[in-house]
């Protein structure tokens, strides 16, 4: 058995840092897209207008019922066939992640809204507020608070899933490890290093979230 020698990754360490930053960037953008889509789709799933409800339900089911990797491949390799042009790797990956995330966030939004006491909507409506006003001023602010912990988990998932962008050749963190492995003929150390980078980021974020959650709990 040969021993591990992490010094071989040191000349490439900037690639890992840059890759980690890219992963963060992708996750942040994707979660923003996910929240934007998810809010509408989540509300749409609760709509009384049947076509809207069906469309939004279908979106969630399709997104959650197919692998993200396949979605990403369709987006990057499949779409150009119809569009006639290629979407560059970074926007393709971020969009695929964000659209995927939208399906999950929709469920988080719906869950958050359903978790708000029914009496809140009744009180708001009994004061003459429209459904929209009640949602905007009363239900959504409370639902959002309930959504923060699961959105934190969603962010962590996206951070890890950004590694799938390797398959379309985008130089994010996992790709960095791949390159180093190819150059040094030693795959174990670079992949372990990438894993450590992901781990430090997710653990740090989880820790920050636990502080936020404690704050939220205290303000209830």
């Amino acid at each position: 058995m040969k021993s591990l020698d992490f010094s071989i990754v040191i000349p490439y360490i900037h690639l890992f840092f840059r890759g980690a930053l890219t992963a963060l960037e992708m996750a942040v953008l994707a979660v923003l897209i996910g929240v934007a889509i998810g809010t509408f789709v989540g509300l749409g799933k609760m709509s009384r207008i049947l076509p809207v409800k069906l469309l939004c339900t279908a979106y969630v089911e399709i997104i959650r019922g197919t692998p993200l990797l396949v979605q990403l491949l369709i987006f990057y390799f499949g779409l150009p066939q119809i569009l006639g042009f290629t979407i560059p790797e970074f926007p393709a990956a971020v969009l695929a992640l964000g659209i995927n995330s939208g399906g999950y966030v929709a469920e988080i939004v719906r869950g958050g809204i359903l978790a708000v006491d029914k009496g809140q909507m009744e009180a708001a409506r009994s004061l003459g507020m429209t459904y929209g006003q009640a949602m905007r001023y009363i239900i959504l602010p409370q639902a959002f608070k309930k959504m923060i912990p699961p959105l934190g988990n969603e962010f962590i998932t996206l951070l890890k899933d950004s590694s799938l962008a390797t398959t379309i050749g985008f130089p994010e963190l996992t790709r960095a490890a791949q390159i180093v492995a190819g150059n040094t003929y030693r795959p174990f150390e670079p992949y372990l290093t990438a894993a450590a980078f992901y781990f430090v980021m997710t653990v740090t974020f989880s820790f920050l979230m636990s502080i936020v959650e404690r704050r939220l709990a205290a303000s209830d």
């Binding site: 006491d117 009496g119 809140q120 009744e122 009180a123 708001a124 409506r125 009994s126 004061l127 003459g128 507020m129 429209t130 006003q133 001023y137 009363i138 602010p141 409370q142 608070k145 209830d220």
Partner: protein, 240 residues
């Protein structure tokens, strides 16, 4: 002022209101009593269309609520409601709870809304709690804020659905006192309650409901001292 004619409401198979008819005059305080599940809450909630009646007629000031051309949100501005569990907005301060609807629904200016809110808080004895959050209030205080919140819309009628049922005994009086004060001020009120003393002292009329119907109605004196219907007698003997 309120006219209810042959009101029916069912939830699927379950018929909860089965032909309610009554008239409520301006300034009248009507107390609704009856066993659990008799449809008291449903009746009250039909009066501001939180429940949509299956058939029948409700008119407020001659205006039909069930007419498709009636603006429900407009109607609700005139009908205040106080809930058993207060339903204050937990993410807003006491004063914000009160000013929100006048500002957003009626377009009242923030300063005017606030002035009115402070007046109302003074009236329910909670002016010092204006900047507190609901979570820091006792049950009785929460309910008084809820009453102030409903009053801020200048309603013509106030509906109370068991406003003291969720309160510790020592807090019931402070809420009933606010309600008495309102009644003596001439507010039209429909109150579902188990507080028989309140019904006797403040009520102009008592409705006894059972199985979705008004079985008996009369002055508190008539109902409490000389009930005619055997079901009324049976119910009163259990709670008095």
């Amino acid at each position: 002022m309120i006219e209810v004619k042959d009101l029916y409401k069912n939830f699927g198979e379950l018929e909860v209101l089965r032909g309610i008819s009554t008239k409520i005059e301006k300034g009248e305080v009507v107390v609704v009593i009856g066993p659990s599940g008799s449809g008291k809450s449903t009746f009250l909630r039909c009066l501001n269309l939180l429940e949509r009646p299956s058939r029948g007629e409700i008119k407020i000031d001659g205006k039909s609520l069930l007419d498709p051309s009636t603006d429900i949100n407009k109607v609700r501005q005139d009908v205040g409601m106080v809930f058993q569990h207060f339903n204050l907005f937990p993410h807003k301060t006491v004063v914000e709870n009160i000013t929100l609807a006048p500002m957003k629904v009626k377009g009242v200016s923030p300063s005017e809304a606030r002035e009115k809110a402070m007046e109302l808080l003074e009236r329910v004895g909670l002016a010092d709690k204006a900047e507190s959050f609901p979570s820091s209030l006792s049950g009785g205080q929460k309910q008084r804020v809820a009453i102030a919140r409903a009053l801020a819309m200048n309603p013509k009628v106030m509906l109370f659905d068991e406003p003291t049922s969720a309160l510790d005994p020592e807090m019931i009086k402070e809420v009933l006192d606010v309600m008495k004060d309102l009644a003596s001020d001439g507010m039209t009120m429909v109150v579902v309650t188990h507080e028989m003393r309140f019904a006797r002292e403040v009520g102009d009329r008592v409705l006894f409901m059972d199985e979705g119907k008004i079985l008996e109605e009369g002055t508190p004196r008539e109902i409490f001292e000389n009930p005619q219907n055997p079901r009324t007698r049976e119910f009163l003997s259990k709670i008095l």
